[in-house]
Amino acid sequence: MVEPRSDGLEDPPLLVAEGLGKDYGRLTACKDVSFVLYPGEVLAVVGESGSGKSTLLQLLSAQLTPSAGRVSYRMRDGMLRDLAALGEAERRFLFRTDWGYVHQDPAQGLRMAVSAGANVGERLMAVGWNHYGRIRDTASSWLQRVEIDTARIDDAPRTYSGGMRQRLQIARNLVTEPRLVLMDEPTGGLDVSVQARLLDLMRNLVNELGLAAVVVTHDLAVARLLSHRVMVMKDGRVIETGLTDQVLDDPREPYTQLLVSSILPV
């Protein structure tokens, strides 16, 4: 018998965006974006380049200050806090421990000249781990989880292939067991076969760890495989949102229909 898992409807939200907007002078990069993300939920943000999806991710991760609206996050103590009201030390600590950020280009998310083991171990050392053996064991078990040969633990990611780098970046992010991961085109720039392997890995990890994630992608196939919900953006606004299969199988807005019908059949 399968034990029915609690359906989680009584869980409080993890991340709340309210009326988020960002202007660059007269240019509106992002306008009036609101959504609620619950623990364990994967939200895909899709749209063409220039649709404002990357700006949104930067607003969510407080790399950009919003022109309007706010982002709140439920801290581990259960309190929902406005990110803008956190002190810088608190915010940076949060991002190093409870959040992950997977960059499209692994070189931005990794220390390319430092060994893979230290790349994974850094976040542990940053939260005070002070035992080399334990740091290394943990790093090594994470390399295994992301399917990197542990014999390469002392090699720098400079010597890794693109797919391995991206998997290493994921391990580096997940080692502190974050509750929220933001991903910016995580499969962009990879070969199709490498993409598939990475997607499978991410799906399993998200499932096993009960991660909540916001995945920005222009690839609807990635959205379909990874996400529970989809938000379609165009010209900085959210034009359609819903369950992934609802939006992709039964798109309502003209632009979404165009996007869905533009997928090349294989």
Binding site: L9, L243, E253
Partner: protein, 229 residues
């Protein structure tokens, strides 16, 4: 278990100059536990659309889709995405016509995934998946291969295994026996019978008259819901 009342669906085709394409209207039927209702009608009549509306993949433009979930009734036509996901996790299973799986994932894991997703240990889930694949005559040497390398019939059986593996109280079947040979069709019929005895409410689309006769407790004619434009 299922109480559909006055549901309707229209497609708005923006890319074709905004044509409205009415699909169904006034869809109403009920399914009790242990009952298998088969939707009938010519192709294009909206059978698959109704199935997708019951699963929540298609949004309804009117009416209600009542589903008994955790002891209460949930209207999927009005439910929040989270609620729909919760219903899918613990109440409704869906066997689609085509398999949509992550490339590269071994078949046994494709089948076991619904169990692991609901919290079962990987090894136990794989045991159950293996038993089901064996029953559906998928040779063990194929289990570690991704289903995309399989023949159409084999893919369909993997898909069926994935759909039948969970003990959910509602199961939606979209052409479960298409492209199967007689022996495997018989296995599917047997599986459906087993689900019925367990009290599972089912809605199915089946083109094969003989199979329809065997599994259907009731037939709902979809042409009655056709919304003539």
């Amino acid at each position: 278990m299922i109480d559909v009342c006055g549901a309707e669906k229209t497609f708005m085709m923006h890319l074709q100059g905004g044509i409205e394409l009415p699909v169904v209207r006034g869809v109403s039927f009920r399914v009790e536990p242990g009952e298998c209702v088969v939707l009938s009608g010519p192709s294009g009549a909206g059978k698959s659309s109704i199935l997708k509306m019951v699963f929540g993949s298609y949004r309804c433009d009117g009416g209600r889709i009542g589903i008994r979930h955790h002891g209460g009734m949930v209207d999927l036509a009005a439910a929040e995405p989270r609620q729909v996901l919760s219903v899918r996790r613990s109440t409704i299973g869906y066997v689609s016509q085509f398999l949509r799986a992550v490339p590269r994932v071994p078949s046994i894991d494709v089948v076991a995934e619904p169990l692991t997703a609901s919290g079962m240990a990987r090894a136990d889930a794989r045991d159950r998946a293996g038993a089901l694949l064996r029953r559906l005559n998928i040779p063990e040497r194929l289990w570690s291969l991704p289903p995309s390398t399989f023949s159409g019939g084999e893919q369909q059986r993997v898909n069926i295994a994935r759909g039948f593996i969970c003990d959910l109280p509602i199961l939606l079947l979209d052409e479960p026996t298409a492209s199967l040979d007689a022996a495997n069709r018989a296995v599917v019929v047997e599986l459906i019978g087993q689900k019925k005895r367990q009290g599972v409410a089912m809605v199915a689309i089946v083109h094969d008259d003989e199979i329809r006769r065997v599994i259907a407790d009731r037939i709902v004619d979809v042409t009655a819901f056709a919304s003539a434009a």
